[in-house]
Subunit: 342 residues, 2 copies
DNA sequence: TGTTAGCACTCATATAGCTCGAGTGCTAAT
DNA sequence: ATTAGCACTCGAGCTATATGAGTGCTAACA
């Protein structure tokens, strides 16, 4: 069956109405909309066609129609672009903060309070991070501190307990050893052979060396591990279809136990390249059982240093896709700037 | 009116029953309990008295009785001690982790999964932390790294951008300057006068000094700020009286926006000294509107280094106080050990 | 041939009436 | 002081009924 211009118009109207009210939309409601001058009967016929095409559905006989997942998908893919929305500026700006962590947290929070949806932000991930700088210092008699700087300027610390303090020149020698060997190497470059050579040179302090290497490994793994920040999880209670105890529990769990999100988001990034960086997942397009009643919109951001991460907004299927997409577009652009100017 | 031994017994039975079932308890149920050999009629009379005393209440006429806040309070204060519970061992043990942060996170998680309640853990707080060790290093041409170690072995890092690299001996000199002046000082000791003197000695590098000092201030403030870790927030859905959308939203919010918790917990610590370190808050004993239907049990832990923090368990009023208190007691003892042996 | 008015039909929701039973308070007997 | 007995209360759960939003279909109309 052909999807005529008129059908599109009606579909669009149904979706818009449903986004606003969350209630099934009837033919009469549509017929009252100003730019559609048709009787409810005609609309009914058209709606019947749209239903046949799988774009809308009735929750039960003789109820109004709501968009199906396919309908939303069509809306997001086609209708939204056609109706380019009027400009709208974001209100709350991001403050400059010093720590990356605090910044990500803040991005999530601001986004959540601006959109009234749940949000998530992943920390930027760098492909194949390398050691930039290592330094050992004697903090007190029993403690050495290993400071490890990764090439994206992430800093990690590792305390190393020792039986007795090292002499000043011993610390110096270790530092030279560590830096000359390790600088510029990534995790996979640091193999057993290399370590053996280093141990030989370290002599009596081989055990300290081991601790440092362990620290480096931990640091790199840490950088490699996707950190996810979420905010506004309780916003879901603003949408009755998500707030029912049965569904809310599961959904909140996914939001809090962030593993599932990471997975979703990792997929997102793979798909992304071709597009504008914005991905929309509707209901069952996500694997997670808990997210069946939600939609997720993700955007990829990219930092100068080469790191990439994802920002996502989680809301009901009837979320305001237009606004969300726009907000994300704005934000990803700004993010790079904020991260670098800090 | 006198609270006879028999009344206590009945009250105890009512509470135990209600804790288990969450349903109002009737006189007949009590009369069936093996260690109370009275007819339901007699129980009814006693219950009527208990109600008059405000220890129990009826949700509506001709329903059974449930404990009032006062009743719970009495239970926790008096009845629980009298019936010393049989020994019970905790199942899941804590793994050793290296970072304090990860450890606290883990404590919260394990506790939540063991108890099926929501949990919170605050990071240990030290009174008046002092600088133990400062070190500047040149990471690359444009970046200096300031490493600041606080006397509880917390480490903070601060990147400092510079226009041109410092010479090796300049860095060395700065390090001597910083350490000789700042070591052992707490935040309040570092006043403007001191900073002025230091600036004089730093000469051309005064601006670097400023950055370092700023970094130290930030680090100290950071240590001072109570970090709160929560887990198992969604456990509240296991208790219908908390899982209703209206109440759940607010409650989850308090659990996620941790400010409110911090406040509660700070109070807890003040009160604590006298007791065993365990505090129980029931319903309206907490300020927070959102927590009216909950109870909070907190325990203070103390580390060798002098830091103290709080562990809390948040559940419905009918939570298993006995188990919770026991679990917390066990844990606080163990915690010190784990933290120190790490 | 496309559009519309009209009408019978459907079905979720809301409300009212009903029964059921758990639980109470009171009284009188033990 | 305790208990058996009984009338009474009231929420939970069920059924029946009314309401009304919304549909599909048919027939008339432009």
């Amino acid at each position: 069956m052909e999807l005529t211009e008129r059908k599109k118009k009606i579909l669009h109207s149904i979706i818009m109405n449903y986004l606003e009210t969350g209630e099934p939309v009837g033919s009469r409601t549509i017929s009252k909309s100003p730019d559609i001058k048709l009787s409810s009967a005609t609309i009914r016929n058209e709606m019947s066609d749209l239903e046949e095409m799988g774009l809308i559905l009735q929750p039960y006989t003789s109820a109004g129609r709501i968009p199906s997942d396919l309908g939303y998908r069509f809306y997001v893919d086609q209708l939204m672009q056609e109706k380019e929305a009027e400009e709208e500026k974001r209100e709350a700006l991001l403050e400059k903060v010093d720590r990356m962590e605090a910044m990500l947290e803040q991005v999530a929070t601001v986004l959540a309070s601006n959109t009234n949806y749940a949000t998530m932000v992943t920390a930027p991930q760098y492909k194949n991070p390398a050691v930039k700088f290592v330094q050992l210092s004697q903090v007190d008699e029993r403690n050495l501190l290993a400071v490890i700087v990764i090439d994206n300027n992430t800093v990690k610390n590792q305390m190393i307990h020792v039986m007795e303090p090292l002499k000043n020149d011993e610390v110096l020698k270790m530092n030279v050893l560590l830096n000359s060997f390790l600088q510029g190497l990534s995790l996979r470059d640091i193999n057993l052979e290399l370590i053996d050579t280093m141990r030989e040179q370290a002599g009596v302090h081989a055990n300290i060396l081991d601790s440092v290497i362990k620290g480096i490994a931990a640091a790199m793994r840490d950088v490699d591990e996707r950190q996810v920040y979420t905010s506004g999880a309780t916003n879901i209670f603003k949408y009755p279809e998500l707030g029912k105890p049965e569904t809310a529990a599961g959904l909140l769990n996914t939001l809090v136990e962030k593993h599932a999100l990471t997975k979703l988001v990792d997929e997102a990034e793979e798909f992304n390249n071709e597009h504008t960086g914005i991905q929309v997942y509707i209901g069952n397009e996500m694997r997670s059982q808990n997210m069946q009643d939600c939609s997720l919109v993700t955007a990829t951001y990219e930092l100068e240093g080469g790191g990439t991460g994802t920002i996502g907004i989680i809301g009901p299927k009837r979320m305001n896709y237009q606004k969300v997409v726009k907000t994300l577009k704005n934000l990803t652009g700004e993010l790079d700037e904020i991260f670098n100017n800090r």
